[in-house]
């Protein structure tokens, strides 16, 4: 009698826990159940707690009168304004310091990053010293340093540091002359607009003609001349319709002019200097990522040095630089929330700070604040993906 081996069970289903699809389904159902249970637990607890503290939920508080002043505001604001308006004021202040910080950090970062690659030994060492010092010290400490140790230690208004008796720096902030536009000034932005449009048209036309015929004009210089020259010409023709409101010492403080509060200065300086040290490293590694053969090939085509940089190295380096650069910009925007530590009235400080303390609407306020930062992050990431798709290498 021969033993027949048991035939492999063709067609019979494997047990439930070995079926990948069913296992995945179970796993995901369990995950959803866990998340839902967790949320229910939290929501239930929160409702109990809010009821115990007598807080009503909802966004009704946004229309109540805030009753506190804000030291810097880009729109009209008084202590009679609503909480909704404090939100807008805070948001605008966050955007202001972020935008100016991004501008300054990019400038410093590119200069230091290029200096780091300088053939001059001393300059390269100075640049790497800058990078190593500032990126290894916490940002909050740098903000405190600029605010408490530098700007708060400035002299009183009477003994202000001054630049040519028009700009003054003292413990109350930086006082700058403010331009007052007289009638007829409206022509100058108009002239600027016309010059910009004309330059863009010129540049596009020049590029098309260059590609079609090989001939080209020095369009860059012409449009620079247009953009600078035309508004200046109009300014002179209309007889310079601008006066300067220079700050003056009256009593214990300066009157007139344009005041930059020390909180803004400290935050802006610290954000720019700190972020610039990261941007410098990004710029350096971006430039170093371009293989030397690219430069050599360009030189072999006898391109002059400035064209080697402009047409060969920089466009390729930018492709490497821009993604991490954007994430540094995002970091800067998020880091601007440290403003709350020195009392610069940004979104976190006036809204998640003062408004939350006064109304007790923790959930709504924190949710709105987080939503703002999330929206900014998502918008920037969307831009990033679009940009990446545009400049990505087209490979086989």
């Amino acid at each position: 009698m021969s033993v027949r081996p048991k035939a492999p069970s063709v067609g019979t289903k494997p047990p439930f826990w070995r079926d990948r699809a069913k296992r995945a389904l179970t796993f995901q159902v369990l995950l959803i159940a866990a998340v839902v249970l967790f949320l229910l637990y939290i929501v239930g607890n929160t409702q109990d707690n809010l009821a115990a503290r007598g807080i009503t939920t909802g966004f009704g508080f946004l229309t109540n009168t805030a009753g506190f002043g804000i030291v810097q505001s880009l729109i009209d604001y008084s202590s009679q304004s609503t909480y909704g308006r404090t939100f807008v004021v805070g948001l605008l202040n966050t955007l202001l310091v972020s935008a100016l910080g991004i501008l300054a950090a990019t400038l410093i970062g590119f200069v230091v990053g290029i200096a780091r690659l300088s053939p001059n030994w001393l300059i390269a060492r100075l640049a790497s010293g800058y990078i190593e010092i500032f990126r290894n010290i916490p940002l909050l400490l740098q903000i405190f340093f600029w605010y408490f140790a530098v700007l708060r230690a400035m002299p009183s208004p009477r003994d202000s540091l001054t630049l040519g008796e028009v700009a003054f720096l003292n413990v109350r902030g930086l006082f700058l002359p403010e331009p007052q536009f007289l009638s007829g000034f409206g022509l100058i932005p108009l002239a600027l607009g016309i010059a910009v449009v004309a330059s863009i048209v010129l540049l596009i036309w020049n590029k098309r003609r260059h590609e079609a015929t090989g001939k080209r004009l020095p369009a860059g210089w012409i449009s620079l001349g247009l953009v600078v020259g035309l508004p200046l010409l109009v300014l002179v023709i209309t007889g310079v319709p601008v006066t300067w409101d220079v700050p003056e010492l009256r009593g214990f403080n300066f009157r007139g002019g344009f005041t930059v509060i020390p909180e803004f200065l400290a935050l802006w300086l610290a954000l720019s200097i700190y972020t610039a040290s990261f941007i410098a490293e990004i710029v350096r590694s971006g430039i170093q990522a371009i293989p030397h053969g690219q430069t050599e090939a360009a030189q072999a085509l006898s391109l002059p040095q400035n064209l080697v940089l402009r047409l060969v190295v920089v466009p390729q380096a930018l492709r490497v630089i821009i993604p991490p650069l954007t994430s540094q910009y995002l970091n800067l925007i998020k880091n601007s929330s440290l403003a709350t530590a020195i009392g610069y009235p940004d979104l976190v400080s006036v809204f998640a700070g003062t408004t939350l303390n006064q109304t007790g609407q923790a959930i709504e306020v924190i949710a709105m604040t987080m939503a703002v930062y999330l929206t900014i992050s998502l918008l920037v990431s969307m831009f990033m993906n679009w940009f990446n798709a545009r400049v990505a290498l087209v490979e086989r």
Partner: protein, 366 residues
């Protein structure tokens, strides 16, 4: 006709290409533009260094116990000296300081063991650091058992608290980060989207709002009557925040492992967890170490933010000491000291991570 039978002795390089003078010419004065830059750089260095050295060393006061011992011409390091114990241990009871020292001593030994490439048993030491050490540190620092007096967390502070926050955030974030990274690469749509939303949410908001949330909203989430220690709230906020960043670093490492590795493991009949645990993660984790060190550096710097929710880390305690009426006006000294401490830690860690990167990238270097 003559034939040269001997090699001609190599002649020394021309005088103009060797020696310090030639180096100066090549690196500092190789043209008019470079010369101008060098002189500008030297002037800048002079402007920065001379007053700094005079302030910090030459005119500084080192000896004494009160502010009257300071001449006020240079730095008053007496202030830092008088407060050093507080800056390092916070308000931890003076008689119990040995516990802090022992904890961080053990930690330093463990980390040094992991960092020195030649030492054996790396896997066991790593497991001990991640699993055993936190429990050991908790019982030693918090006390209340084994005959050790209890030390409430509001007495923790200074450099010690900074280190505790950073290490707890790291140790807590690593496992969550691994799970999130695996989830983000999963083929189950719900698991994947859950992980993506979780990661992008924490990465999209500033740490300050996370800490605010942990300190304001967390008590609301708990059942009525349960209160959470303020330090625990900070731990929770920091760990959640950090785990999202950790997940992205780990995902980067996982993506660097060729697909064939996992397919080969699957062909041998290994289950998902065996494939991940024995094949993919061990290779990936090694490649991630520089990235993990870098996120640890940023976490270490970010721990300073806890002072905004009322904890006294190194920066918080320096800031508090500055408003002491007996020591007003020494903010510069305090900040320079704190900056120096942070700088030492961050700089040495970043150097270590650069060294690792060089070591790991030997194969691909151009």
């Amino acid at each position: 006709m003559t034939i040269q039978h001997k090699m001609i002795e190599a002649r020394p390089a021309p005088k103009s290409t060797v020696g310090p003078l030639a180096w100066l010419r090549a690196n500092l004065f190789s043209g008019p533009v470079n010369t101008v830059f060098t002189l500008l750089g030297l002037y800048l260095l002079y402007l920065l260094l001379v007053p700094t050295i005079e302030w910090a060393f030459i005119d500084a006061d080192w000896i004494g116990t009160t502010r009257d011992d300071c001449s006020r011409e240079g730095a008053c390091w007496v202030f830092v000296k008088a407060r050093l114990g507080q800056f390092i241990y916070g308000l931890y009871p003076r008689d119990e300081i040995w516990r802090v020292n022992l904890t961080f001593g053990v930690f330093a030994v463990l980390i040094a063991w992991l960092m020195i490439p030649r030492l054996p048993f790396k896997r066991w030491v790593a497991a001990a650091t991640l699993l055993v050490f936190p429990i050991f540190a908790f019982f030693l620092l918090y006390g209340g058992s084994f005959g050790l007096p209890l030390v409430q967390t509001h007495r923790w502070g200074g450099l010690m608290l900074t280190l505790v926050l950073a290490v707890v955030g790291m140790v807590g974030a690593l496992p969550i980060g691994i799970v999130l990274a695996l989830g983000r690469r999963s083929q189950m749509p719900i698991v994947k989207s859950f992980c993506v939303v979780f990661i992008e949410f924490w990465r999209g908001v500033p740490l300050i709002t996370v800490l605010f949330m942990a300190s304001v909203m967390l008590p609301l989430f708990m059942p009525t009557g349960v209160s959470v220690d303020r330090l625990i709230r900070a731990f929770i906020g920091i760990t959640l925040f950090q785990s999202a960043y950790m997940a992205e670093v780990i995902r980067g490492g996982l993506q660097a492992i060729p697909r064939g590795q996992e397919e080969a493991a699957a062909a041998l009949g290994m289950s998902y967890w065996l494939r991940m645990g024995l094949i993919v993660l061990p290779q990936a984790l090694k490649m991630m170490i520089p990235g993990i060190v870098n996120t640890f550096i940023s976490l270490f710097k970010d721990t300073t933010l806890v002072m905004i929710i009322g904890l006294f880390d190194l920066l918080g305690i320096v800031q508090a000491a500055l408003s002491d009426s007996r020591w007003l006006g020494f903010s510069l000294e305090g900040y320079v000291f704190a900056a120096f401490m942070f700088w030492i830690f961050c700089f040495s860690m970043s150097r270590y991570s650069q060294y690792l990167e060089r070591k790991l990238h030997t194969g691909h270097k151009r």
